[in-house]
């Protein structure tokens, strides 16, 4: 008697287990891993990732997106291991915290057979990722310079506020300078303002004390631009056609552009929404009949009053 019940239970359990496995196999699991948002741009990315998750899961009931954020590279490496062992993901979308320490963990995910999409920051070994989605840093610098040239004439003076001394900052700055060269526009000086409002304010105050004649400012980043604008207004030097060009696509800046702000008339896009693009492309790898593997470099679009609306997300934190 007892033996029969045990057997039945075993059979039942087995059947349930099989059914569970069948359901799990039907769902396509995609892990999405990125750093915990600690600054506005990353918070915007988090928001766009969550929105893309809702949208894609509503569109494809058999797609399961698993969003994980990690506070440091070590935690992200562990999170990747968990995505493979616990969730048995079929694909991974990853924005690596740092390239070097995450190259091996991502390689291990690839060995499990998953499709790999890398976002924004490349890995230190080529050929691991199937899909690469990133913004275009040199293009951001170049587009900004082209706009400067369109507004300024020979002999005009500009100052440049840079970000945190990193490869990203160098790429943007070098491309900007290359485009400006030969135009006759003088770059009076460039200083690091660390993608930070307070530093932008301080550096701009000092530029204003130092140079009596400045015609425009390249702030490279929307946060720096906010500090720059405050310093210009304090010194009463925000008139006479003075303008500031930032970058990234912060919602307040874009709102200003839509409202016709003359001091910050344009912005250059480096969108946190690129994570959503990466998720779309990765899902397409399972759903589309077209090939998707490859490198997707997003444009550094110049945001003007004409096209601002399509980049405006009032609910996003960025």
């Amino acid at each position: 008697m007892r033996g029969r019940i045990a057997l039945m239970a075993l059979a039942l359990g087995g059947a349930l287990g099989l059914a569970g496995a069948a359901v799990a196999q039907e769902k396509i699991k995609i892990g999405v891993s990125y750093p915990t948002p600690t600054h506005a741009w990353a918070a915007g990315m988090n928001w766009h990732a969550e929105n893309a998750e809702k949208r894609l899961e509503a569109l494809y009931p058999d797609i399961d997106l698993i969003l994980v954020n990690s506070p440091d590279p070590g935690a992200q490496a562990s999170a990747l291991e968990d995505l493979v062992s616990v969730h048995q993901i079929d694909a991974l979308v990853v924005l690596p915290f740092e390239s070097e320490p995450l190259t091996d963990p991502v390689l291990n995910v690839k060995k499990s057979g998953a499709l790999i999409t890398v976002v924004d920051r490349g890995l230190s070994q080529p050929g691991i990722e199937d899909i690469y989605v990133a913004g275009n840093n040199p293009e951001l610098g170049r587009v900004s310079a082209v706009y400067m040239k369109s507004r300024l004439k020979e002999g005009d003076n500009i100052v440049v506020l840079r970000g945190i001394p990193t490869l990203i900052d160098n790429e943007r700055f070098d491309a900007f300078m290359a485009e400006i060269e030969g135009s006759g526009i003088n770059v009076l000086d460039h200083k690091h303002a660390n993608w930070n409002r307070d530093d932008g304010f301080d550096v701009m105050q000092d530029f204003l004390s130092r140079f009596p004649d400045i015609d425009a400012v390249w702030a490279q980043d929307d946060d720096i631009a906010i500090g720059v604008v405050a310093a210009l207004k304090q010194a009463g030097r925000d008139g006479d056609g003075m303008f500031v060009v930032g970058g990234a696509g912060m919602k307040e800046t874009i709102k200003g552009i839509m409202d016709g702000n003359e001091l910050v008339p344009v912005d250059v896009l480096y969108p946190p929404a690129m994570i959503a693009t990466a998720m779309d492309v990765t899902v397409a790898a399972f759903k589309s009949n077209g090939p998707v593997a490859g490198r997707y470099i997003l444009g550094a679009t110049l945001i003007t009053p004409e096209n601002a609306e399509q980049f405006y997300f009032p609910d996003s934190p960025f």
Partner: protein, 339 residues
């Protein structure tokens, strides 16, 4: 023999005292001369006011830090505390618009809130250090992390922005001047004078020094050590809240990058000013000079392109070390013994 040696210690003390008092002042004057030589615009009225106003934040916080450090403690949480107070102030002011409008009442509520938070946060640091018997370094390292993540949480990872209506009311607190000096500078002067009186002319100041020199002896001398130490942290909290009150109207925003490394700048200002890091000796005047020196270094580096941007940190580090060496180094005494 005895006759010749006797006057020497007195002379020695006089010179070492002079160097100790004048070290930071000499360093600051030297910096100003260098700044002027690099670019005469350095001494323009506009730049001097910018410099003084900019020093106010770190300076006010450093006055509080002078008490904490003199009493043998340390507070690493001040930068994060400033960020979280700024964040909460903005949230509170934005939410009271409906009831009180965008007038002075709302700003006053924000300021009141800031002071309560500053006192509370300081009290928590103090109680955990004294009653909780945890090292100040650990307590404030903990609260530093807590405050920093709280502001990130409140801002949802992004930036908290003050309503534009209130901004117009509140803006003058940072940007307006009174008798030729910006208001933040006046606040700085007032805090400095109050701190100087408190440290040098009251029993509280003497108790801080006594506790910092030798806590056990202070306890045997019937000084209420725990209470005095807690008060130093409460004072520090108050200074942070004052600094925040003048910081918020500048850009009207707070985020997780607000006040990053302010704790180290405040501690550096205190030490450059001649206060001893292990406690027992504090100088408010020196702290003020220390804060001015730190801001001036950054300002001068922005005024020249002679030095590579990547070397800014090196220049700052060198100047800090030289400024402290000027007053600590044995070089004054050695010169004397050789004579």
């Amino acid at each position: 023999m005895a006759d010749t040696i006797a006057p020497q210690p007195a002379a020695r003390r006089a010179t070492s005292l002079d160097i100790k008092t004048l070290g930071p002042a000499i360093a600051l004057i030297l910096l100003c001369v260098i700044g002027f030589l690099l670019n005469p615009a350095f001494l323009s009225e506009g730049n001097i006011t910018n410099l003084l106003t900019r020093s106010a934040f770190i300076g006010i916080i450093a006055v509080g830090a002078t008490f904490v450090i003199t009493a043998g403690g340390i507070d690493l949480s001040v930068g994060s505390m400033a960020a979280v107070i700024a964040g909460v102030m903005i949230i509170v002011m934005n939410n009271t618009i409906d009831t009180f409008g965008t007038g002075i009442a709302t700003v006053l509520i924000g300021c009141f809130c800031s002071i309560i938070l500053g006192l509370g946060a300081g009290w928590a640091n103090g109680m955990l250090t004294t009653k909780g018997k945890i090292e100040a370094f650990i307590v404030t390292l903990g609260t530093m992390g807590i405050f920093r993540s709280l502001v990130t949480y409140f801002a949802d990872g992004g930036t908290l922005s003050l309503d534009y209506g209130i901004r117009d009311t509140y803006r003058p607190v940072y940007y307006d001047s009174f008798m030729g000096l910006p208001i933040p500078v006046w606040v700085f002067i007032m805090v400095a004078i109050a701190g100087w009186v408190l440290l040098n002319w009251t029993a509280f100041g003497r108790y801080c020094t006594a506790i910092g020199s030798n806590e056990a002896v202070a306890r045997y001398s019937a000084i209420k050590v725990d209470r005095i130490k807690t008060w130093t942290y409460v004072l520090q909290g108050l200074c942070v809240s004052l600094a925040t009150i003048i910081y918020v109207p500048r850009l009207g925003s707070a985020s997780s990058s607000t006040g990053v490394l302010w704790e180290l700048e405040a501690i550096a200002a205190v030490i450059i000013g001649g206060t001893v890091l292990k406690g027992g000796y504090g100088r408010i005047g020196g702290t003020i000079l220390g804060a001015l020196i730190l801001t001036t270094i950054g300002n001068i580096l922005n005024f020249t392109d002679v030095i590579s941007n990547y070397l800014n940190g090196t220049m700052q580090g060198l100047i800090i070390i030289v400024a402290v060496w000027l007053q600590r180094g044995d070089w004054g005494r050695k010169g004397r013994t050789k004579l």
